[in-house]
C-alpha cells in the first residue's frame, strides 16, 4: 500500500515528471472540441501552435460561424481576431474569465501554459485508483498570485506520470472546474492524454470534450505566426 507520508520532495518530483510529459518547447496540434450544452452539442475544430509558455496561436477551422477566428497569446496578452468583423480585440480583465466559444474552458485557462512546478507547491495527499489505474493524489497550492486557481487536486497515474483527473479550486475553496483525462497515447516518447473532458462546475451543461486529433512536439514553427499581422492572414 502506498504511504500517504511521502515527502514534499517526492511530490515535487512527481510534478516535475508530469511537467515533462505535458509541457514542451513547442508543439502543434489539431483538436476537436465537443461542447455539450444544456440544449445542444456543438463541435469546433482548431489548429494550435505554441512555443513554451509565452507564445500560442490558435485558428478555428469549423463550424462556419467560427471558421477563421484566430487567437494569439504573447506573454500575458491575448488577442482574438474575428473575420466577420475584421476586428482584432484584446481580451483582458474580466473578459479573460469568459468562456471560449461557449465551452467549459475560459480564455484564462487557455492562457495558462506555465509548468506546474513553476506555479504550485505540491504535496501528496493519498492514493486512489482512477479507471483501474493506481494514482497519487497531489494537492497543489499556488506559490504565485497571478494564477486562476489557488489550489488544485490532481490524480497522477503512478506509472505514466500524467494526470487522469483534476479538480480546480478558487481561493475560497469552492470547486470551480473538474476535468478527466483519458485515451492516453505515447507521442515521441512521452505520455499524453488525447481526450480531456472539462466541466465548469458553475455552469449548466454536460461539459466539454477536448480531443486532440494530431499532436507534434518540437517542430519548426515560423516566427511570423506569433504576430498580430498573422491574425488577419
Amino acid at each position: 500500500m502506498f504511504s500517504v507520508s511521502l515527502s514534499a520532495q517526492n511530490a515535487e518530483e512527481i510534478l516535475d515528471r508530469v511537467d515533462r510529459n505535458m509541457s514542451s518547447d513547442n508543439r502543434i496540434f489539431e483538436s476537436t472540441m465537443i461542447i455539450h450544452g444544456i440544449r445542444t452539442s456543438r463541435t469546433i475544430t482548431s489548429r494550435s501552435y505554441s512555443v513554451g509558455d509565452t507564445k500560442a496561436f490558435t485558428e478555428y477551422l469549423s463550424p462556419a460561424r467560427e471558421q477563421g477566428t484566430k487567437m494569439l497569446k504573447l506573454e500575458d496578452q491575448l488577442w482574438i481576431y474575428s473575420p466577420a468583423t475584421d476586428r482584432t480585440i484584446q481580451i483582458s480583465g474580466h473578459m479573460l474569465r469568459q468562456s471560449v466559444m461557449g465551452s467549459d474552458l475560459s480564455y484564462e485557462d487557455m492562457m495558462e501554459d506555465r509548468e506546474l512546478t513553476e506555479v504550485y507547491n505540491a504535496s501528496v495527499a493519498g492514493s486512489e485508483a482512477v479507471d483501474g489505474r493506481e494514482c497519487w493524489i497531489l494537492e497543489l497550492k499556488a506559490r504565485v498570485s497571478d494564477v486562476a486557481y489557488a489550489t488544485r487536486k490532481m490524480w497522477i497515474d503512478r506509472e505514466r506520470y500524467i494526470p487522469l483527473k483534476e479538480e480546480l479550486y478558487a481561493k475560497s475553496g469552492q470547486l470551480l472546474k473538474r476535468s478527466t483525462m483519458s485515451n492516453v497515447i505515447k507521442v515521441e516518447g512521452r505520455w499524453f492524454p488525447a481526450t480531456i473532458v472539462y466541466k465548469d462546475m458553475l455552469k449548466q451543461g454536460e461539459g466539454t470534450e477536448f480531443r486532440i486529433t494530431t499532436i507534434k512536439f518540437n517542430q519548426n514553427i515560423p516566427e511570423y505566426i506569433f504576430t498580430k499581422a498573422a491574425l488577419k492572414q
Binding site: 461542447i35 450544452g37 444544456i38 440544449r39 445542444t40 456543438r42 460561424r65 467560427e66 482574438i80 474575428s82 466577420a84 468583423t85 475584421d86 476586428r87 482584432t88 480585440i89 484584446q90 473578459m95 469568459q98 468562456s99 471560449v100 466559444m101 461557449g102 465551452s103 455552469k203 449548466q204
Partner: protein, 426 residues
C-alpha cells in the same frame, strides 16, 4: 330659503369666506396631488412596461427564474412561430419579441484597434418591420438626438450620453463584444444610425438599441428570443385585464417540468411592480380620505369660531321661536353651499395646476440620478388628468364642510331657551 341663505352668505363674508378659502385650497391640493401622483405612478409603470416588463411577459421557465442575468442561453426557440401562436390565441393583445443582452461596445480607430470602449446593455426589438410599433412604443423618434432611426440591417442606436462618452458619431462603425446564446464570445459590427436620449439616467448611461434580427445574428440566436412581451390594446395595465390572459395561457401551455416550457408573468408579478400597481390604484382614495379628515378638522375649528361670532344671532333666532333643528339645518345648508362653491373653485384651480404640470412637467432627475430600482423612473414628472379628477374633489370638499359644521353646530342644542334673554341682556 336657499335664496335667503345665499343672501346671508354674500352679505356676511366672514361667514363664508374662510370656509370657502379652506375648502378651495384643500380641494385644489387634493385634485392636484391626485393628478400628480397618479401621473407619476402611471408613467413609471407604463415606461417600465414598454421597456422591460410588457403588460405580460412570456419566457421559458428557466429564463424567468434567472431573468436578472439576461440568460439568453435559456431563450425561447422557434420564437417567430410561437409569437404567431400567441397572436392567434390572444388577438386582443399585441405581442412583440425582444432580446436583452449585455456587452462591451468597442469603437475602433483607423487601424482597427480599440479607440474607446464601454459596457452597455442592449435591447433587440423589431425596428425594421412595418407596423411593428416598437419604435413608437419606446418613443424613439421623439428621443432622437442625432442621426436617424435604424432603417437597414446592421444599424444601431446608442444613448446620447454613451455615444459622447465613446466619442462616436452617427455613421461610425462600432463593435459589440458580447456572449452568444451558446456562451461563446460574440463580436459583431454595427453602424451607428443615431443617438437617443430617454430622459432616464440609467438608460442614458449605456443603452444599445438594435433590430432583433441583427441581435439574433450577432448572438447566434437564430429564431430565438429571450422574451415575448404582450401589450393590452387599451394601452395601459390593469390586473383585471391580465388575470384572464394568464389563466388562458396556462390552459393552453400547462406547467410541466420542462425548464424550457413557456411561462407567463404579469407586469405586477415582475420586479416588485405589484406595490406600484396597488399604489396607483389606491392613490385616489387615500388622498381623498387624508384631505377629507384634514379639512374636516380645519372646518370644525372654523365652524366653532363662526359659532362664537354668531352666538348672538343664533340666540335671537332661538329666542324669537325658531326651532333648534331649523337653525342647525339652515347652518348645514349654508355649509353645503359654501362646500359646493369651494369645491368648484378648488377643482378648477387643482385642474389648472395639474394641466400646467401635465404640459410642463417637473425635472426630478436630481433625485433619480442614481436610482437603482428595477422600475423606470422618469426624469420629468408629469401629472395625469383623468375623469375622476373632475369630481373627486366633491367628496372631501362637501363632506368635510358639512361634517365640520355638524360638529361645531352641535352646540346649538346645548343652549337653554329659558336663559336666552338673560344671555342676550348680558
Amino acid at each position: 330659503m336657499i335664496r335667503f341663505l345665499l343672501k346671508g352668505l354674500f352679505r356676511d363674508k366672514s361667514r363664508s369666506l374662510l370656509p370657502l378659502i379652506v375648502v378651495a385650497i384643500g380641494v385644489a391640493l387634493a385634485v392636484f396631488a391626485r393628478g400628480y401622483i397618479k401621473g407619476l405612478m402611471v408613467e413609471m409603470i407604463e415606461k417600465t412596461a414598454q421597456l422591460t416588463t410588457g403588460h405580460v411577459k412570456v419566457t421559458t421557465k428557466a429564463y424567468s427564474e434567472n431573468m436578472d442575468q439576461l440568460p439568453n442561453d435559456l431563450a425561447l426557440l422557434g420564437a417567430a412561430a410561437f409569437r404567431t401562436e400567441l397572436e392567434k390565441a390572444f388577438p386582443e393583445m399585441k405581442w412583440v419579441a425582444r432580446i436583452k443582452f449585455g456587452g462591451l461596445i468597442d469603437v475602433p480607430d483607423e487601424n482597427g484597434e480599440t479607440r474607446s470602449q464601454g459596457p452597455g446593455v442592449g435591447i433587440g426589438l423589431d425596428l425594421l418591420s412595418a407596423g411593428s410599433g416598437e419604435a413608437e412604443r419606446l418613443n424613439l423618434q421623439k428621443s432622437l438626438v442625432r442621426g436617424a432611426l435604424p432603417s437597414a440591417p446592421g444599424e444601431v442606436l446608442l444613448s446620447e450620453d454613451f455615444a459622447r462618452k465613446l466619442e462616436v458619431a452617427p455613421g461610425a462603425e462600432i463593435t459589440l463584444i458580447g456572449t452568444t446564446m451558446n456562451g461563446g464570445m460574440a463580436i459583431h459590427n454595427f453602424r451607428l444610425a443615431g443617438t437617443v436620449r430617454f430622459g432616464n439616467t440609467g438608460m442614458d448611461r449605456g443603452t444599445v438599441i438594435a433590430d432583433i434580427s441583427d441581435v439574433q445574428l450577432a448572438l447566434d440566436m437564430d429564431d430565438a428570443a429571450g422574451e415575448i412581451l404582450g401589450f393590452f390594446r387599451q394601452g395601459y395595465y390593469e390586473d383585471e385585464f391580465a388575470v384572464p390572459v394568464v389563466a388562458k395561457f396556462k390552459e393552453i401551455y400547462p406547467e410541466d417540468h420542462d425548464e424550457f416550457a413557456p411561462s407567463i408573468l404579469r407586469l405586477s408579478d415582475q420586479e416588485g411592480l405589484a406595490l406600484y400597481v396597488g399604489l396607483a390604484r389606491s392613490m385616489g382614495a387615500t388622498i381623498t380620505i387624508v384631505f377629507m379628515i384634514a379639512m374636516s378638522l380645519v372646518l370644525w375649528n372654523a365652524g366653532l369660531l363662526g359659532g362664537l361670532r354668531r352666538y348672538g344671532e343664533i340666540g335671537i333666532r332661538l329666542a324669537i321661536g325658531e326651532e333648534k333643528g331649523h337653525v342647525y339645518r339652515s347652518m348645514i345648508a349654508e355649509s353645503l353651499m359654501v362646500g359646493l362653491a369651494g369645491t368648484i373653485l378648488g377643482t378648477a384651480i387643482g385642474l389648472g395646476l395639474s394641466y400646467l404640470m401635465q404640459v410642463k412637467g417637473l425635472d426630478i432627475s436630481q433625485f433619480t440620478k442614481n436610482a437603482t430600482t428595477a422600475i423606470m423612473m422618469p426624469d420629468i414628472a408629469r401629472s395625469r388628468i383623468t375623469p375622476p379628477d373632475f369630481y373627486i374633489g366633491f367628496i372631501p370638499g362637501v363632506i368635510s364642510t358639512v361634517i365640520g359644521t355638524m360638529l361645531s353646530g352641535a352646540g346649538i342644542y346645548k343652549r337653554k331657551t329659558a336663559q336666552l334673554f338673560k344671555e342676550l341682556e348680558a
